[in-house]
């Protein structure tokens, strides 16, 4: 009794059965592939957008406004302190005069500004932090707020929050899609195996009569579900890789116009293997449900 030989035999038998009805097998694999590629494609898209987000998030700025009436030497000291801060990449000093000039130029409020008897703007530093994530930015903001002679710290993080929220929404949508389509994969396998069991009813009955264990009878069906799931996962991987190839070719024209090097990233090897493992597991699960549902009904009489 050699279990390895038996498993190899069943595997060969399973592949033979897949090849026996090439059209039906191909159709099944395509359906599974498409079903899986939808959530996985969504995931790939989200990953790429998230990467884009963190690339941009390197450039958010924190504006630090100095209390009015602070002497220039004190302002300089604050500048030095900011420069030495571990969480800050570089800073830019915007004096109140420069700020006023910018305001005059940029906002069309020239008349109003001209009418002011004195410059109401404070000196300010534009701080470019090192990290990109929201939590670090916010803690840096809160820290700077506590410093002496700093009137106001403004972090423009609203858009980061928006992107995060949007990504969260996208993730949830992908998750729901993945759950639904996983269920569909299980259902497809369940039905395929059900039909197989029905068409092989006689064989199962005879096998039981001549001493086959339940495990022996179950094994080819479980293998079939597993193999079908695995190949379906591979089809999904192929579909996504192909689609990304096409999309990126098109995207490169678009991103050139925007002077960006944004491109959709393909499935990493780890993610791809996880996809294969998961789809194989779902196939096995569908087969297992089907077998436990239908096999006991076939008893020799």
């Amino acid at each position: 009794m050699n279990l390895l030989i038996e498993h190899l035999r069943v595997l060969r038998f399973t592949l033979q059965r897949l090849l026996l009805t090439p059209n039906a097998s191909l159709l099944n694999l395509t359906i599974i592939g498409i079903a899986l590629s939808l959530p996985v494609g969504g995931y790939v898209l989200l990953e790429s957008v998230q990467n884009l987000g963190s690339q941009i998030a390197v450039t958010p700025q924190i504006s630090v406004f100095i209390t009015a009436g602070t002497s220039s030497s004190e302002t300089e000291r604050i500048g030095d302190k900011l420069r030495q801060h571990a969480g800050i990449k570089r800073i830019e000093f915007v004096s109140r005069e420069v700020a006023l000039k910018k305001l005059q130029q940029s906002t069309g409020l020239a008349d109003v500004v001209d009418g002011l008897s004195q410059n109401p703007l404070p000196d300010a530093f534009v701080v470019y932090p090192k990290g990109g994530d929201v939590a670090a930015l916010e803690s840096l903001r809160d820290e700077l707020k506590t410093w002496q002679r700093i009137a106001h710290v403004q972090l423009d993080s609203a858009w980061v929050h928006k992107l995060e929220a949007l990504l969260d929404f996208g993730r949830l949508a992908v998750l729901i899609l993945a759950a639904l389509l996983s269920f569909a994969l299980v259902a497809i396998t369940f039905n395929t195996i059900r039909l197989q069991i029905l068409t092989r009813r006689e064989e199962i009955e005879v096998a039981k009569l001549i001493g086959a264990t339940d495990a022996f009878i179950r094994r080819p069906f479980l293998y079939f579900g597993l193999t079908q799931g695995l190949l379906g996962g591979a089809a999904a991987w192929l579909l996504i890789s192909g689609s990304l190839l096409l999309l990126n070719r098109n995207l490169s024209v678009l991103t050139l116009l925007y002077a960006s090097d944004f491109r959709l990233q393909g499935l990493s090897t780890g993610d791809g293997l996880a996809l294969l493992g998961f789809s194989a597991y779902l196939g096995w699960l569908g087969a297992w449900f089907s077998v436990s549902q239908h096999l006991w009904q076939i008893e020799p009489r």
């Binding site: 009794m1 050699n2 279990l3 030989i5 038996e6 035999r9 006689e202 064989e203 009955e205 005879v206 096998a207 009569l209 001549i210 001493g211 086959a212 264990t213 022996f216 020799p300 009489r301």
Partner: protein, 217 residues
């Protein structure tokens, strides 16, 4: 080898198929089971193969009580019993060779060793030259012999045959009975159900006669 002790078999709805059966079949014995159709011959054979369980009483096969046997223990029991059916129960999606191969696959035999045994079994029933044929292309007598080859390839200690000559003419019948006789000579326990009196005259052996589910003296 096979022992029935006050065995009753009732089906739902009150039909009593077997009534108070008591008999013993020794190891290596050849026994006929006779009676009209509906007398309970098939039911009795099903009890021995654990296809059915007795309603009451004890059925001992190779020391195991069929009434209380665990489902997980049934495959091991059946591997020691060769079953020969009147309707053959051959699989038409594979050739003769693969039909006989099935019991060995179930036991996990090495392929080469199994192939040798399959050919030996086919040779025994005179079908060695038909190993590639689909069972559907075989005659009734050949199908029955193929069924026998499948039953013996595993070298069981008990052979149960349900009307093995039921649909065959006399010439084929004696062919098959000669095969059974050769198994009997090498020590296999045989229980053969038949309603064919001429076989009993030609190949005499002890007979259990069933009538309406009861053993006749």
């Amino acid at each position: 080898m096979i022992k029935f002790n006050q065995v009753y078999k009732r089906y739902p709805g009150g039909h009593e198929a077997l009534r108070n059966l008591n008999f013993d079949i020794a190891e290596g014995e050849m026994v006929y089971l006779t009676g009209h159709s509906g007398a309970g011959k098939s039911t009795l054979l099903k009890l021995v193969a654990a296809i059915e369980r007795p309603s009451s009483g004890g059925v001992l096969v190779r020391g195991q009580n069929i009434r209380s046997i665990k489902p997980a223990a049934i495959p091991a029991l059946r591997r020691n019993i060769g079953l020969i059916f009147q309707d053959h129960k051959l699989l038409f999606d594979r050739n003769a060779f693969d039909n006989v191969m099935l019991p060995l696959q179930i036991c996990g035999f090495d392929h080469r060793e199994a192939a040798k045994r399959v050919r030996a079994a086919l040779d025994k029933v005179g079908l060695l030259d038909r190993e590639k044929a689909n069972p559907i292309a075989l005659s009734g007598g050949e199908q029955q012999r193929l069924c026998i080859a499948r039953a013996i390839v595993n070298r069981p200690t008990i052979l149960l045959a349900d009307e093995p000559t039921g649909n065959l003419d006399t010439e084929y019948s004696s062919e098959i009975m000669n095969i059974f006789k050769s198994f009997h000579q090498v020590g296999v326990t045989l229980l053969i159900s038949t309603h064919d009196e001429s076989i009993l005259r030609q190949f005499p052996a002890r007979a259990l006669h069933l009538k309406k589910g009861e053993l006749q003296p």
